[in-house]
């Protein structure tokens, strides 16, 4: 108990790091790997929930732009993941793969020293598949979609034990998009022969509520290295053409962050700022 109070006091008394000026020459690259649980349902394949593992790779770039007096940042996110899950009776498996890309623009505020709040939007797309080991003429499901999302982020920099740490929370939620889906009982054989029937569906939070969140802690190690670790929650859902789908995962993530500053035409690695 004492130990917890001591940690709490230290965190509360931690001084915000000295604000550093982020300009359009600063950029951050990160690569993190994640592992966690997967909870999958696709009623085109089976009415049963499948649970298992998901492994994720997330590549991110983040930089300030010259827009709005250098208050708008630009972020790109590449996410790839593979999953393996089983039904509750352990008689069948699902294997999935997914890749997604998001380009995000955030307006930045710094209400107090060390705290940066960001809000904006994103455009993105994703593609993937889910294969069921026992399916007959419905063995797999394709995923293909484009969407526009709302995004918020908060970054807090603090100095603790003489080290500048970065805490970050980000949440993205698609609010409009299109996705591919077979009809309720339509076979891919039929689609393959060119018979389409409402296979491009409009999506919104009412029929495809999805939410991507991550909470990370950046810890500088040595002169240039920054370790990033945290938690990622990825909820993808849809209910179109009477086919229900959810793919929810909670992952522990760990990776490295690199900070660069553009000097002339060259990028130079710096101790830089944590965005």
């Amino acid at each position: 108990m004492r130990y917890r109070i001591a940690i709490l006091l230290m965190l509360m008394s931690a001084m915000p790091a000295v604000a550093q000026t982020e300009d359009s020459s600063a950029r951050t690259h990160s690569l993190v790997l994640g592992a966690g649980s997967a909870d999958q349902l696709d009623t085109y394949l089976s009415p049963r929930d499948y649970s298992g593992l998901r492994f994720t790779m997330l590549r991110e770039t983040l930089r300030m732009t010259r827009m709005a007096g250098e208050r708008i940042s630009f972020q790109t996110l590449w996410q790839g993941d593979v999953s393996y899950s089983r039904n509750s009776a352990h008689t069948a498996t699902d294997m999935g793969g997914h890749i997604g890309y998001n380009a995000l623009w955030h307006y930045n505020w710094t209400p107090v020293r060390g705290l940066r709040l960001m809000a904006g939007g994103a455009v993105g797309g994703d593609a993937g598949f889910l294969y069921n080991s026992r399916g007959g003429n419905n063995p797999a499901q394709a995923r293909l979609g484009l969407d526009v999302s709302a995004s918020v982020m908060a970054v807090y920099r603090l100095r603790l034990w003489g080290t500048e740490l970065g805490l970050r929370y980000q949440a993205d939620m698609p609010f409009a998009g299109v996705m591919f889906s077979p009809q309720f009982g339509q076979s891919y054989y039929e689609i393959g022969e060119g018979y389409f029937d409402g296979n491009v569906c409009f999506t919104h939070p009412g029929n495809a509520f999805s939410l991507w969140q991550q909470f990370t802690l950046d810890i500088p190690i040595g002169r240039y290295a920054v370790l990033r670790t945290g938690y990622m929650c990825d909820i993808r859902q849809s209910h179109v053409n009477d086919i229900k789908m959810h793919d929810r995962s909670h992952s522990f993530i760990i990776g490295f962050v690199k900070h660069f500053r553009r000097i002339g035409k060259n990028e130079r690695r710096t101790r830089g700022t944590i965005l």
């Binding site: 009415p47 007959g136 003429n137 959810h246």
Partner: protein, 341 residues
Amino acid sequence: MKNRIMARKLLITIFAGLMMSACVDEEQFGNTAQGNIEALWRIIDEHYCFLDYKGEVFGLDWNEVHGRYATMAGAPLSHEQLREVLCSMLAELRDGHVNLYTAGDVGRYWAWKEDYPANLNDEIRDSYLGTDYRIAAGLRYRILRDNVGYISYTSFSSPIGEGNIAEALHYLRLCSGLIIDVRGNGGGQLDYEQRLASHFTNERIHVGYRSHKTGRGHSDFSVPVAEYLEPSTTVRWQKPVIVLTNRQCYSATNTFVRDMRCCPGVRTLGDNTGGGSGMPFTSELPNGWLVRFSACPQYDRKGQHIEFGIAPDIPCVMTDEDVAKGRDTLIELAVEILKSR
């Protein structure tokens, strides 16, 4: 202040409500006898494509079936008893495409062939092929007496390519007619049946329709889409053809017979086909057992169901007398017809 607290509570309630309703989930039945019976009934109720049609043909009432079988879940059921109950419920559908796969057995309804004479004796049929017949992938063929060509194709699961068919037809090109024997062929890949049938038409022909379910209701179907048979770009047969059929012609073979009947110069001889015009999908129960069921119906070119088979142009049955003599009545009649042409 009070208003602000109220507004905050309201916002929290709306947000919580949105989050709760936003979850996309499917009802998960428990792994009990009742849960498995309910799950199976629901799968068929929402996905099976012939509930309305079979209601018209033999009075199938799936809600009434639920009433009868749900009462059985009241008593404790052993593993084997549960399997029997579920298989019995599926048998109400009278569909060879409906199966229950367990680790130790495959629940099935095969009355569509077992309740009828086979009109096929493998030993006698093989005696017509002899030992020096030719094999092109899944096709076995040779020239019979009176210069009649004969091809036997016993499974549309056996792959055949354009080259295989072209080689076989080229070999038989001097024959006066051709017998294609698909008796005992329980189906397989639709691609193979189309590939074979495409060698018997010179033009694109309308052979039927297909549709699929668009929702969970019994009558939720897409507008039927016309299906066409495209002519092969290689060898195309121009002489009379007789397709031999029996009750064991099922699924893709049933579709093959449907397609061939639309081709010029083709007649069918034998017994009704077994049927099976619903492309099967699979699903599963809480205990992990696999269920197969008809999901996407096909129709003939008049838009009529072919789920219960297709009648032959020339009805013919194997006679005991011929069997005793080692003669195949259907092949003999087909040879006589083609010879006379």
